[in-house]
């Protein structure tokens, strides 16, 4: 058996006395799409922030291609694309300028063509010279997706990427995600939209109160069994 692309071992994270992740073990094969469900405050965002190197775990390790991300964060960041709750954009730059800036940070060749391609895909090319400040919520979210995909990263960490997107934009996003990175693209995504999540997933994980309580291939789960399953594992789902 080959080493999995991403290995998470005994991952814990506490903010002060508040323990958020209570020991997560997980390994993710290259090319798979993992979708993570869980109630508000379960720790999904915290988990993705640690994978993205933005936050450091209290204990435990994360290995990407066998390398501890602590040891070579710069090298790993090249391969990551992140859609987070915040769009990571500058209000006072235009759509084009924002992507131009990130293209420089990622040292892209032919940035103009790539920016144009993405802005066209997310339907914002004709608005490229408007400040992000003036965009509607869904438009900002489209920008956030374009930003994350700019450097064509093989690993995508998507934290509720579909929020604020209209139904057609959500489909556009699904298509975009299918195309990006070829057969080797690996996706870890959270969403509260169970059906949409299942559609994209080939593995479903449920995170509740900082622990993984469910983990199964998506093919095992029938579409209309999803909600009962969710309720069963998540329980009453009060915030923890």
């Amino acid at each position: 058996m080959t080493t999995p692309l991403i290995e998470v071992v005994h991952l814990r994270k506490a903010f002060g006395r508040h323990r958020v992740l209570k020991g997560i073990d997980m390994s993710i094969e290259a090319g798979s799409s993992v979708v993570m469900f869980g109630p508000n405050g379960a720790g999904k965002t915290t988990f993705l922030r640690i994978l993205s190197t933005l936050s450091k775990p209290t204990s435990g390790t994360v290995r990407v291609s066998g390398v501890d991300i602590k040891n070579n964060p710069e090298g790993i960041r090249q391969y990551l694309g992140l859609v987070s709750h915040a769009p990571l954009l500058y209000d006072d730059l235009t759509a084009y300028e924002n992507l131009r800036f990130y293209a420089r940070l990622y040292d892209l060749d032919a940035p103009h063509d790539r920016i144009r391609e993405l802005l066209e895909r997310v339907g914002l090319w004709h608005r490229r010279h408007d400040l992000v400040r003036t965009f509607s919520r869904g438009m900002v979210q489209r920008m956030a997706i374009a930003r994350a995909l700019l450097h064509n990263p093989p690993i995508l960490l998507l934290d509720e990427p579909d929020t604020g997107l209209d139904p057609q934009a959500a489909e556009m996003m699904t298509d975009l995600l299918r195309e990006i990175g070829g057969s080797e693209r690996t996706i870890i995504m959270t969403t509260h939209h169970l059906e949409r999540g299942l559609e994209l997933a080939d593995r479903v994980v449920m995170l509740v109160g900082g622990l993984i309580v469910f983990d199964a291939p998506a093919s095992d789960i029938a579409y209309d069994q999803l909600r009962p399953l969710y309720d069963q594992y998540v329980g009453e789902g009060a915030v923890t």
Binding site: L54, Y90, D92, F101, L105
Partner: protein, 224 residues
Amino acid sequence: MKRYLSVVWAVLWKDLRIELRSKDIFTSMAVFAVLAVMIFNFAFELRVPDKTVVIPGVLWVTITFSGVLGLGRAFISEKDRGSIAGLLLAPVDRSAIYFGKMLASLIFILVVEAFLLPLMVIFFNTNFISLPLILLLFLGTLGFAAVGTIFSGLAVNTRTREILLPVLLFPVMLPVLMAGIRATIGFMEGDALADMMKWFNLIIFFDILYIVVAYLTFDYVVEE
């Protein structure tokens, strides 16, 4: 190396672009500088027999205070839409980000100085500007921007935020500030340039020290 410089440039360009859009930082610095000079001018006019004696003090104090105002905002645009995280995700040595932001701060303060100097010449009615003075100001500002940028990053991570910045920054900046004032006094009194080399050397020494230490520690400031 080319990659590194291109990131420095990208960050610098971005900060300048945003500033040119909103002119936030620049206006608050400039307004403060003008106010301060006018206040000093009025305050000393009536009481000090020869106003030029206060020029070195007024000059450096105004630069320091308006500089802190500007530096306090250096990381504010990064909080807009969580964009600091966007920077931190870039696959690049984070010191490049530091240098980009540091150069942007340096430029803002230098621009304010370029306004301030002629203004003071007019208000105090003495032409005290000289090439060595400009060099001195540049060197002093360099150290100031070097430390200020990293402390600005420190301060945004605390509960007190901007208020803490001057408290952290001023005592650390004092060696450079003192040397700057002494050297300016030297210029005004026409001391020989050779006599003042020690002040220049002190400032240059601290500039290098600050930049090196900031280069080595910035990563720790922004990581979470």
